[in-house]
Every structure is written in C-alpha cells, then in structure tokens.
Symmetry: C2
Subunit: 224 residues, 2 copies
C-alpha cells in the first residue's frame, strides 16, 4: 500500500474526515509528507505555530504540558493510526502543549498551507468540515456540562476507560496526574481507587493501575 493510501485510511478513521468521498480523500492524502523522529525528539512545543496536522504511522508521541511549577504532565498518548492537531491545522493558532516522541516514530504530516489550498479548491469539503466543527461545538457543550457535574467516581471511571483505550488494561499514570485530569484532589482519587481495589475492579502499583474488571468500570462511567 502506498504511503498516501495509508494516510487516507488514517484520515478516514477520524470523524473530521470520515464522510469525505473516496476521490476527495485521495486528493487530500496526496498532499501529505512523512517525517521521522528519534526517541525523545521534540515534534513541537507549546507556543509554536500550529502549521500542520500529524498522523502516527508507527511509534508513539506523547502530548504533554509543562505545568507552571516545572512538573510535566502528560495529557495524551498518540499511537499508531492516531491523528492529532486537526484543530490547529484549521485555525493556525499556536500549540497549547508539547509533543515528544516516546520512541522512534514515523509521522504523516499535512501542512496547513497545503490543506487550506485544498479547501479553497474544494469548497464542498470546506462546508462538510464546517458542519463537523459545528457538531463538535454542540457535542462539546452538551458533554462538558454533563461531565463536570458528575460525581468524582464517574469522572474518574470515564477517564480510566479513556486511558485504557490508549494503554490497554495496564494504565501507567500517577494518581497525582489522574487527579489533575479529573479535576480532583490526589487524596480523593486515592480513596476512590482504594475502594475499587477492594471491589476487585482494579489493582494498584506505584505509578500504574491495572484494570481488572472493565465491565464494572464502564458501568460506573455510564453512571449506572
């Protein structure tokens, strides 16, 4: 499979490009480049202009932010097939976090200028994207309120499920970081995790959480 065809598949998996036609998708993926990163190499930093969208061909990229006190906080892990920077490439705003390769990686790169040129030539695609962004706006405002108003166990369960999608059942994250994610105190997170450990939903290790019973966890995430 050609590089471009591979990229097209990744694009297609992302909701933002999911309903483009095969022909549109092909013309778009023809604009891509690739880029190699060594282990630990920095892809971009907070404040850099958002001049491209990336797809992970192989490897892993960590999205992280340097908190004001100097401690680093990992926000997300992008693995093979993941796409990131879709919003940045559309509006050109500066990056709001850092991205570093967690291992030697190869990325697809779609440059902003190329993408905008494409949209200008294909206004129908632009309109599809507009509809999609609107959907995201609605979705965001519905979900957001909903999720912040949930009690901590629900928020925590949701976050763990999301992390499980990236890590599998062995989530490697500190309870402190989890606390920041769900907007809660570290102690509260710990107490909840302990309770779940007693219920055999998970096991705890230093810097690591082993999900034992995803069924129960997702049930909690759905708020019964």
């Amino acid at each position: 499979m050609s590089k471009q065809a591979e990229f097209a598949v990744i694009l297609k998996m992302n909701p933002m490009f999911a309903d483009l036609g095969a022909d549109e998708l092909q013309r778009l993926s023809n604009l891509c480049h690739t880029q190699h990163l060594g282990n630990g190499e920095v892809l971009f930093q907070k404040g850099d202009p958002g001049d491209a969208l990336f797809g992970v061909r192989r490897g892993q990229v960590r999205i992280e932010t340097g908190a004001s006190d100097g401690s680093r906080l990992t926000l997300n892990f992008m693995g093979s097939g993941d796409l990131f920077g879709e919003v940045a490439v559309l509006d050109g705003q500066n990056r709001t976090a850092d991205a570093t390769a967690g291992e030697a990686s190869e990325l697809f790169v779609l440059r902003r200028e190329d993408f905008l040129g494409f949209l200008e030539r294909e206004p129908k695609v632009a309109i599809k994207i507009i509809a999609l962004l609107c959907q995201r706006i609605r979705w965001q405002s519905e979900r957001m309120e909903e999720s912040m108003l949930q009690p901590l166990p629900v928020r925590l369960a949701r976050r763990l499920c999301a992390l499980a999608a990236d890590f599998g059942s062995e989530v490697h994250i500190s309870q402190e970081q989890l606390g920041v994610f769900v907007g809660a105190a570290r102690e509260s997170v710990n107490r909840q995790l302990q309770a779940w450990r007693k219920d055999a939903i998970l096991d705890l290790q230093r810097g690591r959480i082993l999900l034992r019973n995803m069924t129960k966890l997702t049930a909690i995430a759905r708020n019964e």
Copy 2:
C-alpha cells in the same frame, strides 16, 4: 439606510462575521429577507430543522425550553441587533430550544441554502468561518472547565453580569431560573443573593434583581 446595509451592520458585530471584508459582507447581506412576528408568535420550536439564521431588527425574541416537567425556562433574550442561530444555519441540525417573540418584532432572516451557496462560491469566507469555529472550540473547552469549577458566588456573579448586558441593571428573572442557569439549587442562590443584598451589591424584588454595584459584582465574577 437600506435593509441590507442594516443587516450587514448586525453581522459585522458578531464575531463569526467580524473579519469579513466589506465586499464579502455586502454580498452576504444581499441574501437576507425579513420576517414580522406578532407578540407571542412562535418563530421555531425545538426539533424544527435549523434552516436559517436570524437577526433582530426590532423587538425581542425569547429563547426558551420546555423542561420535561412542563415548566418553561427562558434561556436567553435576544434584543435589537442580536444574532442567533449561527451554528444551526451552518450545520442544519435541529433546533434545541424554542424561540418566541416577546413583543411585536421584525427579524432579518438568512436561509441556510442561500448561505451555503454563498460559502461554496466564496471558499475564502468558508475558511475564515472554519477558523472561527475552531477558535470557538478552543475557547469553549478552556472556559467551560474553568467556569464549572468555580464556586457558586463566582458563577452567579458572572451570570448576573451577562444578564445585565441584556437587561441593564434591572434584571428580571426568578431565582429559580437563575439557579438552573448556574447549575445550583434555588436555595443556595437565594442565600448568596441575600448576602450580597446585605453588602449593598444588589436589591431583591419578586422576580427581579436590581444591580446596585456592578463594580463589586464584576470583581467577584473575576474571582478577586
């Protein structure tokens, strides 16, 4: 001033159209129609297709939702010069609330099909709109978390300031509705308002709040 020119002014005040060029704006506002509503007349209802964007030329339109228990809840008041339905017109999703004229009103109407046709002919405008939607997505996700995590006094003060922008210093709203707005119990709202009354920040009447000291209120809204 022509009807179209008047509409152009309203569009220009809305961030979504603020950075269109004068020529683009003019071509866009040429697509508008007008519509008259009698007092109490229904403009659209929840579930109707979002097939147009509206601007209030004169009069007042209430955006409200019928809560599941049958009680109506006013979400917003659109007065002269206000624009609403910008998102609906872009993505065509169904209305999520009802709109009723609070008095005899005249509205500018920009139909979805006309607007999409315009975007297709002017891809540069589509791209500007895309950038704007992206900005809104970012803004929303930043603000949302921030605002839901604030203590009630801050959320309440913010909401009052926002309402003051529509109503002036005499906000006419029940404490119950205020409670729904800020996501708090009616009683908690009442207690906070009482405290502020003692501090001479505001006065209370049945169904009405008189803002006495906006300076202090905005200070609270900024969270000191």
